[in-house]
């Protein structure tokens, strides 16, 4: 394994579901994820932003191997992902962990916090009993829980403390990758800040890479090194968080950025027309064209590829690429 190899490489991931309308309705194919490629380096964070139904959570499950892609492949540490359920896959699961939105749902309410943080060590048979106990104590301290809270049950902790416990448990097996699916959206504002700070600290201390899935661009900027914007199963823009936030290239990213409510924010707001599209009823061409103010005839017919602009930003938009081409020709 080369040290410079990226930790995670996903290429052309596709995940389809079948959905029936009514009991006797014909099956409709829903493409939740439609050709997503992403790369994650060691110790870095990739933010995945998008609205509900855009496939960001499915992408997270695909890269963990919790779901098998219908097309495309995932490589972890340079090696292809073993089939789910197999022994090598189970062994690999210790190296990659998931953190969910609702910490109360992710914890077992009949087990103490200490027992739950210890469980992954038991399952993956890491260390002997004293080593496991010492590790639990160290993990609880790392996420900012007091030692006595190991004996508490989930309902005795506040929302922020529960999410800390979930993080401690996810870190138990020293994973190289954490997939955090909306880890802060169920929390209050002041607690969100605590958890975001904690994620940054954890990364500094454990060197873990993160896939941070969120609908909140502000939170993504706070914790990520790169950000990918998803729309209807595809990545439409990818780049540095500051670059994407300050000069979004894709019309959808532009709308998303302008929709962020922020105290003291200046400028006009782009209000997108229409509803988020239905993945079962995907528009032809660029999926965003029915809501896009910049759409031209080509957008209806031809789906744009995710291509790099001269500045390195990846954008999937005919209009954005035509503009860069024009400005270079001029």
């Amino acid at each position: 394994m080369r040290p410079d190899a990226s930790l995670l490489d996903a290429t052309g991931l596709v995940r389809r579901y079948e959905m029936r309308r009514g009991i006797f309705g014909a099956a409709v194919e829903v493409r939740a994820v439609d050709g997503v490629s992403l790369t994650l380096e060691r110790g870095r964070t990739l933010g995945l932003v998008g609205e509900s139904g855009c496939g960001k959570s499915t992408t997270g499950r695909l890269v963990l191997g919790l779901e098998t892609p219908d097309a495309g492949s995932v490589a972890f540490e340079g090696k292809p992902m073993p089939p789910p359920g197999s022994a090598p896959w189970r062994a690999l699961r210790a190296r990659m962990q998931m953190v969910f939105q609702d910490p109360l749902g992710a914890l077992d309410r009949r087990l103490t916090i200490g027992a739950q943080v210890r469980e992954p060590l038991d399952i993956h048979e890491q260390g002997d009993a004293p080593a496991r106990a010492a590790k639990v104590a160290r993990l609880l301290a790392a996420v900012g829980l007091r030692p006595d809270q190991a004996a508490r049950y989930p309902h005795e902790l506040s929302g922020g403390q529960r999410q800390r416990a979930v993080l401690a448990r996810a870190l138990a097996t020293d994973p190289a990758l954490l997939v955090c699916d909306e880890p802060i959206s169920a929390l209050d504002v002041s607690i969100q800040a605590q958890v975001m700070n904690l994620l940054v600290d954890i990364q500094a201390e454990f060197g873990v890479a993160m896939l941070f899935i969120s609908h909140d661009l502000r939170a993504v900027r706070q914790v990520s090194h790169r950000v990918a914007v998803m729309y209807l199963g595809r990545i439409v823009e990818e780049g540095e968080p500051d670059a994407v936030l300050h000069a979004p290239a894709h019309p959808y990213s532009q709308a998303l950025v302008s929709a962020i409510p922020h105290p003291g924010k200046q400028g006009t707001r782009i209000v997108l027309q229409g509803d988020p599209p239905n993945p079962a009823d995907r528009p032809t061409g660029c999926a965003f064209h029915p809501r896009c103010a910049a759409a031209v005839a080509r957008c209806r017919a031809e789906s744009p590829d995710l291509k790099a602009r001269p500045d390195g930003r990846l954008v999937a938009c005919h209009v954005a690429h035509a503009e860069t081409a024009l400005s270079r020709a001029a």
């Binding site: 800040a193 502000r218 929709a259 962020i260 922020h262 209000v271 988020p276």
Partner: protein, 325 residues
């Protein structure tokens, strides 16, 4: 400035546990007030109490008046005229506020019959007008749809149309956009702003998101543990927040520009109702806490016209700089 709604010393407790510990608030006709705070601070309970929508085990003290008329303990006959007719309310999850087995047009017509006495074709015509007003495309046909055929944003538009059916003087919107996507949130906030202008309707926007309040409201009241801790015009609150809790909330928002710094998270969590501190409820989490904070609940002091904060040290801004936790 005339007053439309006035709350005076409003207190609510559930089975002896205080949820609301004395709220004083006035809303002028046509004004937009934001009510901000974290879960459990009592921002929703305030309005449920004012409209007597709380379950029987809640004890309510104090007064809530609408145009001078007392609402607390008022007979059902009075309240039924007020609820929906003069003060309407919309909630976070529109889909659960609508009846899933009735067509939305029928539900809207019911509201029109109750509040305005409209029936038959007149009700249907008015329902269609309201649907057009709240921006539901193809209104005439969509009246016959069921709630599950609408998206979340459209269901919230239906709820807003129903709230407007009684031509209320005030709309209480309880986290109206929390369950919605960011781009849909922008649409709904836009709609609320334009409706307010059009009908000169007062708006109380309950939210945990300071950003949402900042671009919709004229005035903000920040609540913490059942009390209002700071109240100010929007621009003033964001430019010169005085209460350490307000400062903490603002510091906890990730910035969208500038260098990435550590967020100034407020340490700890909200006190439980049964373990409320004797003095200032925020003192255990406050970086500027002094001995006097624990002695008693600080009273509201006026810092500038219309800017009030309930903090002993609100006059010393330097002391209140929050250290990053």
């Amino acid at each position: 400035m005339s007053t439309l709604v006035a709350l005076r010393g409003l207190k609510v407790s559930f089975a002896g546990q205080p949820a609301l510990r004395g709220i004083d608030l006035s809303i002028a006709p046509g004004e937009a007030l934001g009510l901000v705070g974290e879960s459990g601070c009592g921002k929703s309970v305030t309005w449920l109490a004012a409209l007597s929508l709380l379950p029987g085990k809640a004890t309510i003290e104090g007064s809530a008046t609408l145009g001078g008329e007392e609402l607390i303990g008022a007979p059902a006959r009075v309240l039924e005229r007020v609820r929906g007719g003069r003060i309407a309310m919309i909630f976070q999850d529109p889909a659960s506020s609508l009846n899933p087995v009735h067509r939305v047009g029928k539900q809207l017509a019911e509201a029109l019959r109750l509040h305005r006495g409209l029936t038959g074709d007149a009700a249907r015509a008015e329902a269609k007008r309201l649907f057009d007003l709240v921006g539901i495309p193809d209104a005439a046909r969509r009246l016959d749809a069921y709630p599950h055929e609408f998206s979340g944003g459209q269901n919230q538009r239906v709820m807003i149309a129903m709230a407007l059916a009684g031509q209320p003087e005030m709309l209480v919107a309880d986290e109206p956009t929390t369950a919605l996507d960011v781009t849909i949130q922008a649409q709904i906030l836009d709609l609320l702003r334009s409706l307010r202008r059009e009908f000169n309707m007062a708006l109380v926007l309950i939210s945990h998101d300071l950003g949402v309040v900042a671009d919709t409201c004229d005035r903000v009241a920040v609540m913490y543990a059942g009390r209002i801790v700071e109240e100010a015009p929007v621009a003033r609150l964001f430019a010169a927040p005085a209460h350490p809790y307000t400062r903490g909330l603002l510091g906890a928002l990730p910035p969208i520009t500038g260098p990435r710094r550590r967020l100034a998270a407020i340490p700890g969590g909200v006190p439980e109702p049964w373990a409320m501190p004797k003095g200032c409820a925020f003192a255990p989490r406050c970086a500027a806490r002094i001995a006097a904070c624990d002695a008693g609940v600080p009273s509201a002091t006026e810092l500038a016209p219309f800017h009030v904060a309930a903090c002993l040290r609100a006059h010393e801004p330097a002391a209140l700089e929050m250290e990053p936790a």
